[in-house]
Structures are given as C-alpha cells and as structure tokens.
Amino acid sequence: NAGVTQTPKFRVLKTGQSMTLLCAQDMNHEYMYWYRQDPGMGLRLIHYSVGEGTTAKGEVPDGYNVSRLKKQNFLLGLESAAPSQTSVYFCASRLEGGPSEQFFGPGTRLTVL
C-alpha cells in the first residue's frame, strides 16, 4: 500500500516549457487535490477533484490545468511555465464525505528558470 505517490520528485524547466506532474493513490479515495507550497504563503489549493472525470478550481488555478481520467490518478499540467510557478507541489487525497483525514504525497520540487 504505497498511499499517495508523486512523479517526478524534482524538475527544472525553462520559461515557456510545459510539463505534467502525476499523482497516484491506491486507497480508492474519491477526492484528490493539488496544492503549492511557498515560503510565507503556506499551502494554497490549485485545483481539486471530487471524483473521476470531475475537476474544480481552487484558490490559485491560473496557469495550471488538471485531468482526472482515472480515479487513482490526478494530473497537473503547466502549459507554459513561468518563474512564478517555482514551488513545491503537493498532491493529496481523501475519502468521500465526512471530516476524514487528507493524505499527502511527498511533493515535487519544481524550479522554472
């Protein structure tokens, strides 16, 4: 039982390049989330999904797109990376309904030059 995993762990991009971050969970959770963590800003929600085939915008969605084609995977895409997107990205998942625990992945450290 791996929990929540993220690929890749580290990445360096040049401005304008694109990439996709993959989040996978093996706990059969309905809800999945993408956050970014920046010094002094805490965790900010980018996008989230309440089930397979659904996505919704969070607090800071601009410049990102997401897809949830399979229940266990939640992809975060950057179409044209900018230096302001340099951050640590965390994926999380939780069971549907109720005040249940949210499980986090190990994070992806992204640097955009």
């Binding site: 809800y31 805490g42 965790l43 005040p99």
Partner: protein
C-alpha cells in the same frame, strides 16, 4: 468567506517550555478542525483532529467556539517537535480543507 488565521509565522521556545500555536477561524456553522505537521523535507501528515479528541505526541487542541479558536498546545516542548504546523478547518460536503499559512516551531536545546 471562510478563513483561517495563524498569526505567528515563527515561534521559538526552549526545550521543556510550554508551547501554544494559535489558530483562529472564520466559518459559518461548526467546522471540523485539524492540525497537520510537516517535519523537515517530509510530507504533511495529520497530527490531530478535533472530532477524535485525542492527544498525539503530547499535543492537544481545544475548540473554543466563542473565540473561534483551535489552538495547539503541548506542556513540554521537545527538540523533535521542531516542524511546520498547519491549522486546517473543514466545512462540509465537497469543500476542500483550507490551510492556514502555517507556523514554524523551533525548539531550542
């Protein structure tokens, strides 16, 4: 709008001293409240939740509805408590957890 405030960015205490990490929320209704902890270069993990009323690693948190606060407390800080702490209220249904900006706790030997 739903908001959570952690007023201290950094809190430094000596080993063995009491610790209180503050969290204030602005929510309609009665949210459930969580504290998450992130040790250096690790993933966030649940520390405790109000609904279970348990004590984890010596930490407790009391919900004060009158003051809309959910402060995290520990009577005697240990060096291994040094970490980033996030307060997170949960509203209802599909709403995501909203995290505060976090407080970095540094326990000095």
């Amino acid at each position: 709008a739903q908001r959570v405030t952690q007023p201290e960015k950094l809190l430094s205490v000596f080993k063995g001293a009491p610790v209180e990490l503050k969290c204030n929320y602005s929510y309609s209704g009665s949210p459930e409240l969580f504290w998450y902890v992130q040790y250096s270069r690790q993933r966030l993990q649940l520390l405790l939740r109000h609904i279970s009323r348990e004590s984890i690693k010596g930490f407790t948190a009391d919900l004060n509805k009158g003051e809309t606060s959910f402060h995290l407390k520990k009577p005697f800080a240990q060096e291994e408590d040094s970490a980033m702490y996030y307060c997170a209220p949960w509203g209802s249904g599909n709403t995501p957890l909203v995290f505060g900006k976090g407080t970095r706790l540094s326990v000095i030997a």
